[in-house]
Symmetry: C2
Subunit: 460 residues, 2 copies
């Protein structure tokens, strides 16, 4: 046993020293007790020495490490493999992992992989590859245990013992009829706790949830989380069982989708590579489009400001509160939109809740607005007027700023909470309606409110 | 079998009709094939009729539904239970679910629950309740299968058959010595594929990952995801096995932590209740503190603007570009900080990567800055000067604005990427260094850069 998050740098030094001094037996002894994911993380720093480390490991562990490597390193390794080595690794891999790898490889490597897979594997890989990205079919595996209704528990256990080693999971088994239609499922626990001569059809669960190959992978992953399942059966349009999705893949999907949502909320085009693995050029490409759109849409605020140039000139102090007003408006809107986007994504809020959401945000915004306005009035009188000796900050000016604050916070919260819901309703991604987008809209609105109050109260 | 996300409103109408007409047999037939999580979601809309629905369900299903209910409804139900009913439900619950429920109940309800739990359960509940919130101990369960090294596979399977029904999972079994120290583990698959007279000590896995009761629950949940485990053993400081954390609880933790991160990034104090379940007052309390802090810190931008009042008066058109500049700066900073915060949270970036991150963001910011500046120059000449007939938008003014854009984007990206890393280093939560905080800092910096360029190029 060893600790999580061991000291990676120390380990890396040790490995490099062992390699330099050709102490391969020591290196092997160091790696053997480690988890595959941890070895793969170390390999990320080893460059071309990966092949050496890889060949030191027992076949099964080597395959597990292989699955966890970056696609660049996988490609490097495959290029360095002899045909026999490649076949050995492929034999150890689970189908869904092989598919993941194939999807990332260039055409010539894919050809080589398919050539050295056994025919059944090749057929399954091609089968899964034809499902669209982000579909449930693309993350499923076809390696599951299937049973028949008429089997006894003893038959079933025999079948599991015979076919189990090649299956991704045996914790849930699937019962199909002669047409491969899914008719029930049962857990290994039910099997073990039953009597040897019980019949599968009598003890299996006939009420179950299944998903379809073309369902969104995020929906499937959320269902696994919601119902606390270890795997979900995947059927085609005629309810024939074609695969299963296991909980480990669901976790990966949920993490990726959370990252994607967060990126979209920050006006970044989502990417599926880790931060340090993307080149500056890729990062630039992901970030510039939204920056450009938002920059150009700020033209409106510029036009509004130009329009009120004379008002600003007659009461110059008004200018100095613009950043505070637009900042507070942006932040208020961000809070509302973020809360609603997350709630939409977790399925807590739907379009039919729009009125409830608006009513809630209305009440919140009145409280927030009043509270901020009061604090701001005190601050303007104490700090700006008294402490900084600025006589142009009169109580009337403070009144204009505070009234604008209340108006801006209310508008920001109402716009912020409703836009994501409306976006989802018309089929757009609500995450795009987050912080930067809302801020840009609220910027213009807050200026219009500001000048409205200024002309009403100050007569500028 | 039935569909995911069935039409909830239709179902709800049907249920209410059945209740109104006292067609309880039909209601029961409708609910029986449904998943507990789905029934619980429907119960959320049924108010005090929940108790009726609840009593129609078979004991086991009723308990499963009970676990999935909101704590308000759980409390309501417990209050309405007779002592016998309460005992029946408690007997069906897994330990970790009971603990979750107890944590949310008021003292008098807790007392009643503890009184009607059997003594062993009561001891375990008290045991788990003493671990701090967010610790691994607080989410673990003590219901696991423990085996001894000297058992044969046959003995082990017998033990699982005998004790299995009460365990949360039998998919992984844990091998302990006489001092209850964890010495190995093995999966049910290994057990099933082994020969009856194999000895556990020979076939168990001796290299394994374990976590400690006081480890952060998020670290534990991430480990489960990273290593694709179904459960992780939890040991005390002396390596004695005290519980396990299962993958379903890990998914919940990961989802909650993602929500918390997203909330913090939007300057909201995190809450663990769903959006529509929090009262406006609670939402107000969660949102006002950061709004206040950020509003007051915008005082600095106000001071800077006041300081350059005369410069602005001599070249009024400069004012109209301030919102665009601070918006673009804020957005650029948000992109960098969000990307880095997520990478930190997924463990892809550490403090030692600071230089690499800075160098990457530097190159990205140069590309972004040049690109935005070019687009903005064209836009100012074509739209502002030519289309909107504004003669004060001269090429020189455009030059000042574009130079500021480049400077602001660079500063924003560098501040945005480094602050979260530095915050984590000194023990703060990096998520707080997100969008609103960065925007407020960048606002001031962009104004300083703007006036610097204005005085250099325009001599104002």
């Amino acid at each position: 046993m060893f600790e999580l998050e061991g000291n990676q740098e120390e380990l890396l030094e040790k490995i490099e020293e062992y390699i330099a001094r050709k102490r391969y037996a020591d290196l092997r002894a160091l790696l053997l007790p480690m988890e595959a994911a941890d070895i793969a993380a170390l390999c990320g720093e080893l460059d071309e020495k990966v092949a050496l480390v890889f060949r030191l490991l027992p076949k099964e562990q080597a395959a597990e490490v292989f699955v966890e490597l970056d696609s660049d390193q996988q490609e490097l390794l495959i290029q360095s493999f002899s045909n026999t080595e490649l076949k050995e690794v492929l034999d150890e891999l689970y189908l869904d992992d092989t598919v993941d790898i194939v999807e990332e490889m260039p055409a010539n490597v894919v050809k080589r992989i398919l050539k050295h897979s056994d025919p059944e594997m090749r057929k399954s890989i091609n089968e899964i590859l034809k499902y669209p990205d982000d579909s449930t079919g693309s993350i499923m595996t076809t390696e599951f245990v299937d049973l028949r209704e008429t089997m006894t528990v003893e038959d079933a256990l025999k079948r599991i013992r015979r076919t189990g080693p090649d299956k991704e999971t045996i914790n849930v088994c699937y019962v199909i009829d002669d047409g491969r239609h899914l008719i029930g499922l049962l857990s290994i626990r039910t099997l073990l706790l039953a009597e040897d001569d019980d019949v599968i059809g009598d003890i299996m669960e006939r009420n179950f949830i299944s998903v379809q190959t073309l369902d969104d992978q995020e929906t499937t992953a959320r269902a696994l989380g919601k119902y606390d399942f270890l795997a979900l059966p995947v059927v085609d349009t005629e309810n024939r069982l074609v695969g299963i999705v296991t909980v480990d893949d669901a976790i990966d999907v949920l993490q990726e989708e959370a990252t994607e949502d967060i990126e979209k909320m920050a006006a970044i085009l989502p990417s599926d590579k880790p931060y340090l693995k993307t080149s500056p050029l890729e990062t630039w490409k992901a970030r510039t489009p939204w920056l450009l759109v938002l920059m150009l849409s700020a033209t409106f605020t510029g036009i509004i400001l130009t329009h009120f140039e004379s008002a600003l000139a007659s009461c110059a102090i008004l200018t100095s509160f613009i950043p505070m007003l637009s900042g507070t408006g942006g932040n208020s809107g961000t809070q509302a939109s973020t809360a609603v986007i997350r709630a939409l994504s977790l399925g807590e809020v739907r379009f039919s809740d729009l009125i409830r959401v608006l009513w809630k945000e209305f009440r919140v915004s009145v409280c927030c607005g009043l509270c901020l306005a009061a604090a701001n009035f005190v601050k303007m009188m104490l700090v700006d007027r008294w402490l900084l000796h600025n006589p142009t900050v009169t109580p009337t000016v403070a009144l204009v700023v505070c009234a604008t604050l209340i108006g801006t916070v209310m508008v920001a919260k109402l716009v912020g909470c409703s836009l994501p819901i409306l976006a989802e309703k018309v089929g757009f991604d609500p995450a795009v309606m987050a912080s930067p987008f809302i801020s840009t809209i609220v910027d213009s609105l807050s200026l219009l409110i500001y000048f409205q109050f200024a002309s009403m109260i100050l007569g500028v």
